[in-house]
Amino acid sequence: MADTVVKKHPLRGALWGSLMGIGVALFLIIGYPVIGIGDPVSLAIQVGLVIAAGVLVGVLWAMFGPAKKLKGDPPRHVTMDEPAPGEG
């Protein structure tokens, strides 16, 4: 029986997590205002923290989330000795 490995995607997790974080940050500014619109530095720090939290969640999910299970049978290894399908 063929072995399986778990492939992880931390970069994808960071990218999608940052997008999620941007959405949360925007919501906290103009959707359900918790972050005040004010000094640009203060605003950037607060928004940056929210986005960083999103990136962290994304990376953690990508590294430690439940892995998608395999579907179907393991691939067959075709050798040169083996006749191609349809051949005698």
């Binding site: 063929a2 399986t4 999620m20 941007i22 959405g23 925007l26 959707g31 989330g65 299970k69």
Partner: protein, 300 residues
């Protein structure tokens, strides 16, 4: 935990976060009925009179009743952030001016109210009797609703003028604002100004801000606003000011100055900002679930 149970739990948390504050209706601890006309009746049982009829008021002679007509005029009115001390989380209210402001939703039901007795105390939240206009307790306004205000000037201990300086104007001779100018600035959103000789020596005023009609669309944001009125200023518009410069600007004339936080909400509508943020969140969430999840694969 099954999939349905997890979905139910997530929905419950979301509803709790979003709708919880709306369900927790407060009841006023300060009676402001003395400031409000009798036809403002409390309909929602929160102790604050709900929106009634106010007779049409009269604009001050120098009030801006037209607004910006061009894009350049509009941007010229927007205050720069440098004019605001954003780090200050508290509110300031100075001078012998007081009054009540009640914020209503689009149905005319009260959602927030503040009162200032023109004394040494800060402006108070009518529902909690704590300092209002602070970053943690901003004055809530509905951008689809209305704000009613009832203001007055206090005579005791104040240095109001008894007449202005416009030749030919027949002033009444009572202590009040004369030849005054006022300005209201709300960070990056609006600026309004006006003034009047006030020949009738009026010492109180009332009016409605029809936000639902005057704002182009509903939005939500937490903003800082400030305003000032200076006695005997004349018909020129007030220049930029803040809490540190207003004394020098008034130069001995009586004035009132206020600065504090405002929380604008989009009312019952679903604001554009919330929709955009929800779309971004949903895209990121879907990407995490379907594109970034670890996956088993065959070795080799």
């Amino acid at each position: 935990m099954g999939r349905a149970a997890r979905l139910l739990l997530a929905s419950g948390i979301l509803i709790g976060v979003m709708a919880g504050p709306a369900w927790a209706q407060q009841v006023a601890v300060i009676d402001i009925s003395q400031f409000v006309p009798d036809n403002f009746v409390d309909l929602n049982g929160d102790g604050v009179p709900d929106l009634g009829e106010l007779p049409p008021g009269e604009h001050g002679i120098w009030d801006d009743t037209v607004g910006a007509l061009t894009e350049e005029e509009f941007y010229a009115r927007i205050p720069t952030q440098a004019q605001f001390d954003i780090d200050d989380q508290l509110s300031v209210m100075r001078g012998p001016c007081g009054g009540v402001a009640i914020s209503y939703d689009s149905a005319g039901l009260s959602i927030d109210a503040i009162v200032d007795y023109a004394d040494d105390d800060p402006t108070l939240d009518v529902y909690t009797a704590e300092q209002a206009f602070t970053a943690s307790n901003p004055f809530k306004v509905d951008t689809t609703g209305t704000v009613a205000y009832f203001g007055f000037t206090r005579e005791e201990g104040a240095n109001w003028s008894t007449e202005g300086t416009i030749p030919g104007m027949n002033y009444g001779g009572q202590p009040a604002l004369h030849d005054y100018q006022w300005t209201i600035l709300i960070l990056d959103v609006a600026a309004d100004f006006g003034g009047d000789p006030n020949a009738m020596d009026e010492n109180h005023n009332a009016g409605l801000l029809l936000l639902g009609e005057e704002l182009p669309f509903p939005f939500s944001a937490k903003l800082k606003g400030k305003g000032a009125v200076i006695d005997l200023w004349g018909e020129e518009r007030l220049p930029a000011f803040d809490n540190d410069t207003i004394d020098g600007l008034a130069a001995g004339r009586e004035f009132c100055f206020g600065e504090g936080w405002i929380l604008a909400t989009g009312g019952d509508s679903f604001p554009t900002g919330a929709a955009l943020s929800a779309a971004l969140f949903a895209a990121g969430f879907a990407g995490l679930i379907f594109n970034a999840r670890p996956a088993q694969t065959w070795r080799g």
